[in-house]
C-alpha cells in the first residue's frame, strides 16, 4: 500500500501547498443561488460532488453499495434541510458536504449489525483530524481513499502473514483461485479453507480493535 504517499498527502492537505480551485468563486455563486431556493443550482452542486463522496468516503467506510447509497441519500436530505445554515468559509462546498456525510455514516455504523472495516470511532477520528485549510475536492478524494486503504493494510498486519497473503492475493488483487493456491503451495480445495480461516482471523482481529464495526 502507498503509505508514503498518504504521508505526503497528509502534509499537503494540512495547508502547505494546496491551491484553491479556480472555480471556487463560481461555486460560491451557485451556493448562493441554491440558498435562494434555486433547486437546479443545488442539483448541480450535488451532481458535481456526489460521485466523489460516494466512491471515496461512503462506499469504502460503509462497505456495501446499498449502505453507501442510503447514506448518500440521507446526506442530500440533510443538505436540503440545512443549506440555509451553510456559512461560506472560503473552502468550497465539498468539505461541508463531506463532513455531513461522515456524520451520516457514523450514525449508520452505530445502528448497523453487518460486518464493516470501520467503526463509528474511526470516522470520528477522521473528523477530528481537522478540516484542511484549502484542499481541493480532488485532494480530499485521494486522501480519503488512501486512508481507507491504510485501514485495510493495518488490519492485515494484525493477522498471520499467510492469511494476510491469501486475502491480499485473492480478494484485494483479485487473482484466480487456482493461481493463488499454487502461490501458497496448496490445492485449490485446501486454499478455500485457508481463505475462509483468513477471513475468520480478520474478523477476530477487527473484534479485538475497539470501535471497529463487527456485527
Amino acid at each position: 500500500m502507498q503509505l508514503g504517499a498518504a504521508r505526503v498527502l497528509d502534509v499537503s492537505i494540512r495547508g502547505v501547498s494546496v491551491v484553491a480551485a479556480p472555480e471556487l468563486e463560481a461555486e460560491r455563486a451557485l451556493i448562493e443561488r441554491a440558498r435562494g431556493g434555486d433547486r437546479e443550482a443545488l442539483g448541480g452542486l450535488l451532481r458535481r460532488h456526489g460521485p466523489r463522496l460516494y466512491r471515496s468516503v461512503l462506499l469504502p467506510r460503509l462497505g456495501s453499495k446499498a449502505a453507501a447509497e442510503d447514506a448518500l441519500s440521507q446526506t442530500y436530505l440533510k443538505v436540503v434541510e440545512r443549506l440555509h445554515a451553510f456559512d461560506w468559509q472560503g473552502v468550497g462546498f465539498y468539505p461541508w458536504l463531506r463532513t455531513i456525510a461522515l456524520h451520516v455514516a457514523i450514525d449508520q455504523l452505530r445502528r448497523r449489525k453487518r460486518e464493516s472495516l470501520f467503526g463509528p470511532e474511526d470516522l470520528e477520528r477522521e473528523i477530528d483530524a481537522g478540516a484542511p485549510e484549502r484542499a481541493t475536492p480532488e485532494l480530499f478524494e485521494a486522501h480519503d481513499l488512501l486512508r481507507a486503504k491504510k485501514r485495510v493494510t493495518e488490519l492485515l498486519e494484525t493477522i498471520h502473514p499467510r492469511y494476510a497473503l491469501a486475502i491480499r492475493l485473492r480478494v484485494i488483487e483479485d487473482r484466480p483461485r487456482e493461481a493463488v493456491a499454487a502461490e501458497l503451495g496448496v490445492s485449490a480445495a485446501t486454499f478455500d479453507v485457508v481463505l475462509h480461516r483468513a477471513m475468520a482471523a480478520l474478523k477476530k482481529a477487527m473484534a479485538a480493535q475497539p470501535g471497529t464495526g463487527t456485527g
Binding site: 450535488l46 456526489g50 462506499l59 456495501s64 447509497e69 441519500s73 442530500y76 436530505l77 480461516r197
Partner: protein
C-alpha cells in the same frame, strides 16, 4: 494447512460475504451510475408533499387500523406481504404478541398512561429549562467554557503530560464541534 493460535471465530457465509464486500469496497470502490445518482438527487430535491385532503386522511386512518388488526384495506395486505418478505417469522410473532397485548388494554387505561407519561415529560422539560443557565439557552448547540476537573475525578491516572493531552483533546473536540455548529453542519 496452518492456523494461528485459536484463530477462528465462527464465521458464517453471510458474514464472510459482508467482509469480502467491505474489502472490495475499499480496494475497488464501485462508481455510482449517473441515473441512480440522479434519482437520489431528485428524491432530495422533490417538492414537499401537498397537505392531505379529507379522503386521504380517512384512507390513512383505515390503513392504520388495518395494520393494527382492526379492519382490512388492500394496502394492508401489501404491507403485511412486505413485512413477511423482510422479517423472520419469529420476529413477526413477537411483534404480533406485543401488538395484541397493547390492543387488549382498555382504551381508558391507554389514555391514562399517555396522559401520565406526557405530564412527567412536561415536568422534566420545565425543570430542565428552569435549571439551565440563561447563556446556554441563548446559544444552543455550542459547547461552553467550563471546568475540566470532572475529567480527573477519582484517582489520577497518567503523567502530567498525559493529563494535559487529555485536556487538549477535549478542548480541541469542543472547538471543532463549535466550528461545525457555526458552519451549519447538521448533526
Amino acid at each position: 494447512m496452518m492456523r494461528d493460535d485459536d484463530d477462528t471465530l465462527p464465521l458464517d457465509p453471510s458474514e464472510e460475504a459482508e467482509l469480502l464486500e467491505a474489502l472490495n469496497a475499499v480496494v475497488r470502490p464501485d462508481v455510482l451510475t449517473e441515473s441512480r445518482h440522479q434519482r437520489l438527487i431528485d428524491l432530495a430535491l422533490q417538492e414537499p408533499p401537498a397537505e392531505p385532503d379529507e379522503a386521504e386522511l380517512a384512507e390513512a386512518e383505515a390503513l392504520r387500523k388495518a395494520l393494527e388488526s382492526r379492519g382490512e384495506v388492500p394496502e394492508a395486505s401489501l404491507a403485511r406481504a412486505l413485512r413477511h418478505a423482510v422479517l423472520p417469522a419469529s420476529e413477526l410473532e413477537s411483534k404480533g404478541a406485543a401488538q395484541r397485548a397493547l390492543t387488549a388494554l382498555p382504551r381508558s387505561r391507554v389514555a391514562l398512561i399517555a396522559v401520565a407519561t406526557t405530564t412527567v415529560l412536561s415536568l422534566a422539560a420545565a425543570l430542565a429549562l428552569v435549571l439551565s443557565p440563561a447563556e446556554q439557552q441563548a446559544v444552543p448547540g455550542l459547547a461552553e467554557s467550563r471546568s475540566l476537573s470532572p475529567l480527573f475525578a477519582g484517582a489520577q491516572v497518567g503523567s502530567e503530560s498525559e493529563r494535559l493531552d487529555r485536556i487538549v483533546s477535549v478542548r480541541s473536540r469542543e472547538l471543532r464541534d463549535n466550528r461545525f455548529a457555526r458552519w451549519g453542519v447538521p448533526r
